[in-house]
């Protein structure tokens, strides 16, 4: 894992000291809220519906056991004993007092964490594949690249006042688990014709009110050219991007309005300059960073205990069926720990759960943890022989739910239970879908399915790319939920299609049930997933299930 240099350490400490003084000046009245707001946002502090919220970056989703323990300590000492993991690999504390935040930031600094650039019109926390460094299908670990970008973008003097926020995601695998096509810039590590690795660079992706799939701006950028090429893209956007209308200020609109060709040409012109200016400095730094991410010393021991437990314990077997992913090392697995126990809030972890996860990562996971954009926790390096003990330990804190990839493994933004921007609630909808399908016993039969819920058009809950997307809106002073169908969050990213009129709060779960019962009726067999059936049949049978009265009228 990356260890801060003296420079990183001094920078974070001095930023925290600055912010402490800014808070003091806000409280004593020498700063107005208008003056203070951009300063607090630069340090991840929002004001939400009921309280402040501190958003802490988990760069590329990687945490050490000690960092996870510190998050638990912060949750207990200054919050309400829990934290909320988000779709951008951040953790949010929902109840801090303004005057406690400087102490919270210092406590984060003690474990090499911070909240810098988790808000504002800057380059945000750089996200990456949560299986990085472990996945069997990986070409190369994307985290050194993400760390390089974090260092380049943090406090970058030219990019502190961009037209709008700017998000970068990196994957090192052909199977894209980092939703790179929904980012302002997406990077995919690929092999060039000579066998060397470089980047396919995508630009202009985004969800929100104008969802767009990122397009390739350059099919291959050499590693040593990455920073000057990124610098060229962001500086062209900084000049060309619109500042007259915040809803048209993201790079996706800049690319769309100017055309990819014109945008690419401008970037290439700028790249000639930036390449000369950088002179290969990024490549040297990247090599140093790569050394921090060396793989752990994997053990080579028998897996017998795992197979014995699978044969003996159906609960364990079911959990390993859903929650494991192939690891590149023999005998190892990637374990996804569900933060979606039925009826719980997606992405929330109590301080006790965080401490247990930290202890288990130390005992069984080479000290590493990951946070996924799907709001679960991952132990990336687990030997299969340790899984029975892990399973037993996870059960003690309600962390052994066997539902990864199923109907209850729902992404949900905080929605109107917390967020000041939200137009409707998301969390209770997710809770009710999860408990309802468990109660009617259909979760297993339905199989692989991505439901994603956003409480407003900004789409933090990624509803556009859910197989089933749910968008909560305010329709004439009442919560109303629109359903989209057929979205895809992978390398084949697709924006879901709106099914029709929205549903009231108490109608949304029955509507989802009709939709999924229709899927069970029309699928060829159990191996045909919801999304496969949708692609084969189109929207018609699913719309008919959602709107039976209309379907009947049409048939008459």
């Amino acid at each position: 894992m990356y260890k801060y240099s003296d420079f990183d350490e001094a920078f974070v400490r001095s930023r925290n000291a600055q912010f402490r003084r800014q808070v003091e000046r806000r409280v004593d009245g020498s700063l107005t809220e208008d003056e203070f707001k951009p300063l607090r946002l630069m340090n991840g502090l929002y004001l939400q519906l009921h309280a402040y919220m501190l958003r802490v970056a988990i760069p590329y989703g990687t945490l050490s056991a000690d960092q996870m323990r510190q998050l638990a300590l912060i949750a207990d000492r200054w919050d309400k004993g829990y934290g909320h993991f988000t779709t951008r690999q951040n953790i949010q504390f929902n109840w801090p007092k303004l005057t406690d935040v400087p102490d919270m930031l210092d406590a984060l600094g003690d474990v090499q964490m911070h909240a810098i650039q988790t808000s504002g019109n800057t380059i945000r926390n750089v996200t990456a594949d949560h299986f990085a460094g472990a996945a069997a299908d990986e070409i190369e670990d994307p985290r050194p690249t993400a760390e390089l970008i974090r260092q380049w973008s943090t406090d970058h003097p030219e990019f502190q006042a961009l037209p709008r926020k700017f998000k970068i995601g990196v994957t090192g695998s052909p199977n894209d688990r980092a939703v790179t096509k929904s980012h302002d810039i997406g990077l995919r590590i690929v092999r060039g014709s000579g066998g060397q690795t470089g980047y396919e660079v995508l630009v202009g992706g985004g969800l929100g009110r104008t969802p767009m799939v990122g397009q390739v701006i350059k099919p291959f950028v050499r590693k040593e050219d990455l920073l000057p090429y990124l610098e060229a893209i962001v500086s062209v956007y900084n000049l060309m991007g619109r500042r007259d209308n915040k809803y048209k200020a993201r790079i996706k609109i800049t690319v769309f309005e100017n055309g990819m060709e014109a945008f690419r040409d401008a970037v290439e012109d700028r790249f000639k300059v930036t390449k000369r200016e950088f002179g290969g400095v990024g490549a040297d730094v990247l090599r140093e960073i790569e050394a921090h991410f060396a793989a752990p010393a994997f053990r080579n021991v028998p897996e017998d205990a795992y197979h014995v437990a699978r044969a003996a314990d159906p609960v364990f077997r079911s959990w390993t069926d859903t929650n494991l992913t192939d690891h590149r090392a023999p005998g190892y697995a990637i374990l996804t720990v569900s933060l979606k126990a039925h009826g719980e809030t997606p992405g929330d972890a109590t301080s006790a759960q965080m401490r247990l996860l930290a202890d288990l990562a130390e005992s069984y996971g080479h000290g590493e943890l990951r946070i996924s954009h799907e709001q679960n926790v991952i132990l990336p390096h687990v030997h299969k022989s340790d899984l029975p003990a892990l399973h037993a330990a996870l059960k003690t804190e309600g962390l052994a739910t066997a539902n990864i990839g199923l109907v209850s493994d729902i992404i949900a933004c905080p929605g109107m239970d917390y967020c000041a921007l939200a137009t409707a609630r998301s969390i209770p909808v997710a809770q009710e879908i999860a408990t309802h399908f468990k109660a009617i016993g259909l979760e297993e039969a339905i199989g692989q399915l991505k439901i994603k819920i956003s409480g407003c058009i900004n789409a933090c809950g990624h509803h556009h790319v859910g197989h089933i997307g749910i968008l909560g809106l305010d329709r004439a002073g009442v919560e109303n939920y629109q359903i989209t169908l057929g979205g895809d969050h992978t390398e084949n990213m697709a924006i879901g299609e709106r099914a029709g009129p929205g549903f009231a709060y108490d109608e949304i779960v029955p509507a989802i049930e009709r939709l999924l019962r229709a899927y069970l009726d029309v699928r060829e067999d159990a191996s045909e997933t919801f999304i496969d059936a949708y692609r084969r049949l189109g929207a018609t049978p699913f719309k008919a299930a959602l709107y039976p009265a209309e379907a009947e009228r049409d048939a008459a």
Binding site: V27, G29, D417, V478
Partner: protein, 101 residues
């Protein structure tokens, strides 16, 4: 005919805790919606909002929210404002925790 004015309350968040607060008739900030001053005159509403905004060391983000008269005092109209009187629906945190309801 003049557009009818929907009564308002002045609401904000407390500067230090962030908790939702309401301006009362006697110029206090109450944590309880029912104690808010129900303002039925548009000009008076603007004056009360100005008064609230001047208290920059006490509150943040003051605005006027629609409300109506209820048996125990003013009640919110929009569901967003109703949530602000209670707290989130997934945990008994916020105001519902403070009141042990």
């Amino acid at each position: 005919m003049a557009r009818s004015f929907t009564p308002k309350v002045v609401t904000a968040n407390a500067l230090i805790e962030g908790d939702v607060v309401y301006l009362t008739e006697d110029d206090r900030w109450s944590r309880d919606h029912a104690e808010a001053e129900l303002i039925e005159d548009e000009a008076h509403a603007q004056l009360r909002l100005l008064k609230a905004e001047s208290q920059k060391s006490v509150i943040v983000g003051a605005y006027l929210a629609d409300a109506r008269r209820g048996p125990a005092g003013p009640e919110p109209i929009h569901f967003r404002e109703a949530f602000r009187t209670r707290g989130p629906s997934n945990y008994a945190h916020g105001k519902q925790e403070a009141r042990h309801v």
